[in-house]
Amino acid sequence: MSPAPGLRFAPYERRQNKRFPITAQSQYILGGNRAKATTLDISSGGVFLKAEKSLPVGKQIQVLIDWPALLDQRCPLRLVITGRVLRSDSAGTAVGIIRYEFRIRPKSAAPFAA
């Protein structure tokens, strides 16, 4: 469907796999081991993060990120991304997103930023 007559749009696709620079404390689980990381950017297709070491390309990985707001000011959420390591070097690790979901963060689990 074409846009309505008279309605002009910016000459570029605004948000197709656009990377949003987002720095957030996170953790990843790879091969059963959990470690800390920091996100550098997030898009609909992937997340780029900085870990303490390079990660093996091709491996499945789970990235956990605290959602930036409480639901109704009381209920903490955690974003759980399941993906695959696409590349990893000194600049960071690119993870292609297979799927993601939101989970209630258990009250016993401390926030990553703490």
Partner: protein, 130 residues
């Protein structure tokens, strides 16, 4: 009084995350949903009464969800966002008619989006008496 709440229906993870970060600085809670079905489930699960609904026009069922919530919740404001084209002619016509200046169709940055949403949340709470 419940806290200001925004339901965001959009599959663009980076956008929703960035918007949530910005709105959390303004003490506005954001409930994310990727699909209209997930949005309805979230509303039921958390007994949610959103002040503002932000929907990506390309999300299937977004228009019906907006209409349902507008019927159920007095004063709710709806923000329709789009990146390329409208799925729904009714939405396209309505938005085209509301634009006095075609430059209004230019992309907005996250802080600007948050400014608009914050203002609409305040309007909604005044209109809804919540």
């Amino acid at each position: 009084m419940s806290s200001p709440t925004v339901l965001v229906l959009d599959g663009e993870l980076g956008f929703v995350f960035a918007l949530s970060m910005e709105l959390s600085k303004r003490h506005i809670s954001v409930f994310p949903a990727r699909t209209a079905r997930e949005a309805r489930s979230t509303i039921t699960r958390f007994r949610l009464r959103p002040d503002t609904l932000v929907v990506n026009c390309s999300s299937p069922g977004a228009c019906a969800l907006a209409q349902d919530l507008a019927t159920q919740h007095k004063g709710i404001r709806v923000v329709a966002i789009t990146s390329a084209r409208f799925q729904c002619k009714q939405c396209a016509d309505r938005i085209a008619a509301s634009l006095r200046d075609s430059e209004d169709a230019s992309p907005l940055g996250i802080p600007h989006c948050a400014d608009i949403i914050e203002a609409l949340v305040k309007q909604s709470r005044q209109a809804g008496g919540s």
